[in-house]
Amino acid sequence: MRHRQMLAPLTAALAAATLVLSACGPGPAEKAQSGGEVKLQMVESLTNPTRTALLKKLIADFEAANSGVKVQLISPPTNQADQKITQMLQSGKGVDVLEVRDTTVGPFSTNKWIYDMAPDLKDWDGLQALTPNALAVTQQGGKSYMVPYGFYGLSLFYRKDLVQQAGFAGPPKSWSEMVEQAKKINDPTKNKYGYSFRGGLGGAGNAIAVISGYVIDDINKDNAFKLTSGKTIFSSPKAVDALNLYVDLFKNASPPSSVSWGYPEMVQGFTSGTTGFLLQDPEVIATVRESKTIKEDQWGTAPLPVGPTGKAAQPLANAGWGVAQGSEHKAEAVKLVKFLTSGDPALTFSKENSLVPILKSAADDPFFKDGPWASYVAMNSSPETYVVVTQPRGVPWSTEWGNKADADVQKLITGKAQPAEILQDWDAYWTKKWAGN
């Protein structure tokens, strides 16, 4: 009887200890090497169901070509993904291959969470197949924290019929022509507006695209928020002209409620036939094609509008694949990164995700040469006019800047602040940050 009573607390304590210890046990990646099989954990960030299905298909191809390696794909919802990835990297467990974006590569590498693949890529023939832009991203500062899978480049979506009705021969080539045409199309009484203005989330990106087009002759291509003089682009008097034009575009050619328009609203504005112009990434091509309101012959794409000197800055936003520093299977993880960023898998991923491709061979592919894609190809084949620049998107304060700049653009277009004030503030912000304060 007595030993039974002794047994009860012992059993309970043992159960508790087992439960606690099991929580501290090895993660899936560590357990994975059963019977010589390596199991990789891969996590994506810009998740959407179609893309996840495509990734799974490509992973299956990789597994077929690499027996003994199994990949488990984790797909968190987009709006929480980067936070989840951060937590995983912080714990140092449970992730081998991850999606690294130009906005996260800075913080991830600063904290030594991601692995420098430069030694592994040194003799890789896939490097030769990359476009100059993709190669530049892969070899930033002599380190290779990621290999891009594609680029997000802006071009102009426009309504052919509305442009014609407004009396213009073709789409606007410059920002001043854009304002002129958008004003002509604008008719609030018929719920018709010239331009799908992005005033909400991500709105600062388009404002900076205009500023960059105005200061292009003095811009530092490797750090597109700087002039060749070393000052910020926001300190240039030309930037004031750019923002004045931008405010004019909002006030006289855009829907009043576009102050709060983010990506879905601005695209909906165009696809619903409400607006005549839209500045967006190629991924929107598929969305516009699905529109029930505007037919295929009513719209087209044109290169990014240029500034007063006939040039535009092309800031190619990008994302790619990287390897976690904490991975215990770096060789296999790098192998997977190489597989996804070369040959057919890379081309398939660019096509099915509507991305500007990373491979040189894509220039000869009919898919990218015709129709709406033609403007992107045209821009890439005229590097003197559409100057490729690198924006400092990988800095640790990138998210903070994004939130601040978006709110400032809203202040600007709602009349709460003047262009000169905003630019002075931005200039001070970046000068202070670069000085390490």
Partner: protein, 326 residues
């Protein structure tokens, strides 16, 4: 009516597992206590691990230089994060917005919820179906409600403007989410729609516990509807009302998801409340400053809850257990 005490007499013999003496504490032998503690250990460990450890960690972060973008220096900085917040104009704005958000949401929620509960208490055909319909919004995620209302309040293709234009209440579309003064009204309107249900559920439950005899008696005494409401209904459900208001104040103060879905805190940060701003700062990686905000929020809500409960308690007459003599 006599007040009687029907409790059993206290037993002088106390053994483990026996009924406790009235008003006294249960005593266990050392071995029994050990057994019970051992069985409770998993729960204690898990609660400690998943509730108190993160809580204490969060509090400690508030006093550290904890920025995810650069973890090379996470040293102790004392009250620096709190001083930064006090000097932050935007934070002060979010405090003001939080008060507007809570008061602006709660007053209409309470009044409409109360009215709905009174209406749903009456017996009529399909009452069950109506109740299910009324309570449905409570089952939907706040973030989703935010996105739905964001489209509804869209200036160009939103249903709200469409209805107002068709009924000629407005001539030109209102940019609901683009203008600061309208945006706050829009998010509060959405929150009122979302939160009315909770009040209705709670008040209806309380109303159903009020004996019909009281209403019959007041009708015999010739009391009108208003008099009955203030003399019978409200005093009978006073405790439920007080606790529901307290819970809703805390929840509404801590509910940024609807604002996040609808405006993202815009235009120009005009609809940010403290908790939505806290999420934004967390996303920016500054966990130290975000934790400082969290600590402040907990402290303020704790103070509010204490004062509120004390003030309600002093005004609530002591109830005595009454046993109706048969």
């Amino acid at each position: 009516m006599a007040v009687t005490d029907t409790r059993p007499a206290a037993s002088s013999r106390r053994t483990a597992g026996s009924r406790p003496p009235a008003g006294g504490r249960r005593r266990f032998s050392g071995r029994t206590a050990l057994v019970l503690l051992a069985f409770m250990l998993p729960a204690i460990v898990f609660v400690g691990l998943f509730t108190y450890y993160p809580l204490l960690n969060g509090i400690s972060m508030a006093f550290r230089n904890y920025n995810l973008n650069d973890l090379s220096d996470t040293s102790w900085v004392g009250l620096k994060n709190f001083r930064t917040l006090v000097g932050d104009e935007m934070f002060r704005g979010t405090v003001r917005n939080s008060i507007v958000w809570v008061v602006g949401s709660l007053v209409p929620q309470f009044l409409i919820g109360f009215t709905m509960a009174l209406w749903l208490r009456r017996k009529f055909r399909f009452r069950g179906a109506y109740q299910a319909l009324v309570f449905f919004p409570w089952a939907v995620s706040g973030f989703l409600i935010g996105i739905l209302f964001r489209w509804m309040f869209n200036g160009e293709f939103g249903v709200v403007n469409d209805l107002l234009m068709k009924t000629h209440l407005i001539d030109t579309p209102v940019p609901w989410l683009a203008d600061a003064k309208y945006a706050m009204v829009a998010v509060i309107a959405a929150n009122v729609w979302y939160g009315v249900t909770f009040f209705a559920i709670m008040i209806l439950a309380a109303l159903q516990s009020v004996p019909d005899e009281l209403y019959e008696a007041s009708a015999i005494d010739g009391a009108g509807k208003v008099r009955t409401l203030f003399s019978i209904t409200i005093p009978s459900i006073r405790t439920t009302l007080a606790l529901t208001v307290l819970l809703r104040v805390i929840w509404t103060f801590n509910s940024p998801e609807l604002i996040f879905g609808m405006t993202g805190g815009g235009p120009a940060n005009e609809t940010h409340i403290v908790t939505s701003y806290m999420i934004q700062v967390t996303q920016e990686g500054d966990y130290g400053r975000a934790s400082a905000m969290g600590v402040m929020v907990v402290f303020v809500l704790l103070l509010f809850a204490i004062f509120y409960l004390l003030s309600v308690r002093t005004r609530t007459p002591r109830t005595r257990r009454k046993v109706v003599a048969g």
